[in-house]
Symmetry: C2
Subunit: 257 residues, 2 copies
Amino acid sequence: MISVTIIGYGNVGSHLVKAIYGSAYAKITQVYSRSAFSLPHTMDHIACINSFDDLAEADCYIIAVPDDHIKHVSAQLPFTDKLVVHTSGSVSMDVLDPKNRQGVFYPLQTFSKNKDVDFKEIPICIEAAQADDLELLNKLGASISEKVSKITSDERAKMHVAAVFVNNFVNHLYHISEEIMEEHNLDFSLLKPLIKETASKIETLSAKQAQTGPAKRNDLQTIKRHTNQLTDDTQKDIYSLLTKAIKETHTTNERKL
Amino acid sequence: MISVTIIGYGNVGSHLVKAIYGSAYAKITQVYSRSAFSLPHTMDHIACINSFDDLAEADCYIIAVPDDHIKHVSAQLPFTDKLVVHTSGSVSMDVLDPKNRQGVFYPLQTFSKNKDVDFKEIPICIEAAQADDLELLNKLGASISEKVSKITSDERAKMHVAAVFVNNFVNHLYHISEEIMEEHNLDFSLLKPLIKETASKIETLSAKQAQTGPAKRNDLQTIKRHTNQLTDDTQKDIYSLLTKAIKETHTTNERKL
């Protein structure tokens, strides 16, 4: 049984507590948060602490705090030579204070506080300075997810950029679409099945294969009509740039054939 | 029982044939395609035709051909004063030859030939020049989908732009992400749960509420690191423009508060 202390009880921390609580191979020793908090009442036996001085012995300490607090929190821990990991996609392993054994336990998913996720489906990217620690993180990951991958800090950094495109940027395109619909008093929910199916296609097709639309067809008439309909300059710029990018991608492909 | 003839057996046409075939309130009279084709063998009793001269009587003729063929096909029909509709999101109703009664029957979804879709979930946008015809299209829509909306050609044009953002452009961001992962020998499927959850969040949150990431937090350090990691100029441009757009959106919101 791997004993784990979670430091931080925000989006990632609270979802991790739930997932590890449900695991047969790992258990939560303590949960730390800077401010007062309570765990779901089924977890009453788990100690909630608000001071690092109260930290007890555990096999692994998971720091789940905002990126720019990781360094500071890891420096404040009142012990040395224990396994201390963070959960960030964009921060290198070595921001963790070297007085402890460093590692990363990064669940590649977007979490909302009140929306449950199926942890089994979430890829967990692990990294550790020492082989034994990597093995422990591998076991811990496998106890809550079916997809554990060993990923270096450098690879994780690249992956994080790719994740920004499919999450942050995609979500902003949803937002623009919502704005266009609202501007014309149209119900945004009409587009929800399309959003779902667009994401679902990627399960079986490459994005290149799944591409459709006026830019791919080089349908200049429709592109011009669309551009004229947009009233916002930033929306126009995004339309033009993404249209250009799609055209380039699909022309290059044809040249390659 | 509404009798329907489908003209065109591509992505949209073939899915419509399947959906209407399964309906208790509508039936397929004939299916036309320019070239030789066959229907699934359970539909053996439905006539497949390759000439407009063979078109029989039906309550509604649905033209499901590429946008730029709609005008020509509608002009070629050897009859007048019947209800003839197209299925396009981006083409106005009046491209249909006025010798017949014009209408639109637009299923707002992206179709792939070999991937089944649940038609019940697909919004169908209808329009007709005459009230009786609109009523017939409403019944026909309701016989295969739970979401039928009366939408004018002008509204449909706006909606189509919004659809391009959430489908064509989102798909291209998936493509960029796939390229970044491949460039660094990382498995793109690691991002698939994130893609799925990003789309799923929109079911319950507005895109504005769902937004996360460095651009929203105005985390300039991460943004700079990401930009330096991108090796492709178009990718860099898209990263910068979407980051700027997210920053603007969320600063404006704060000012509004």
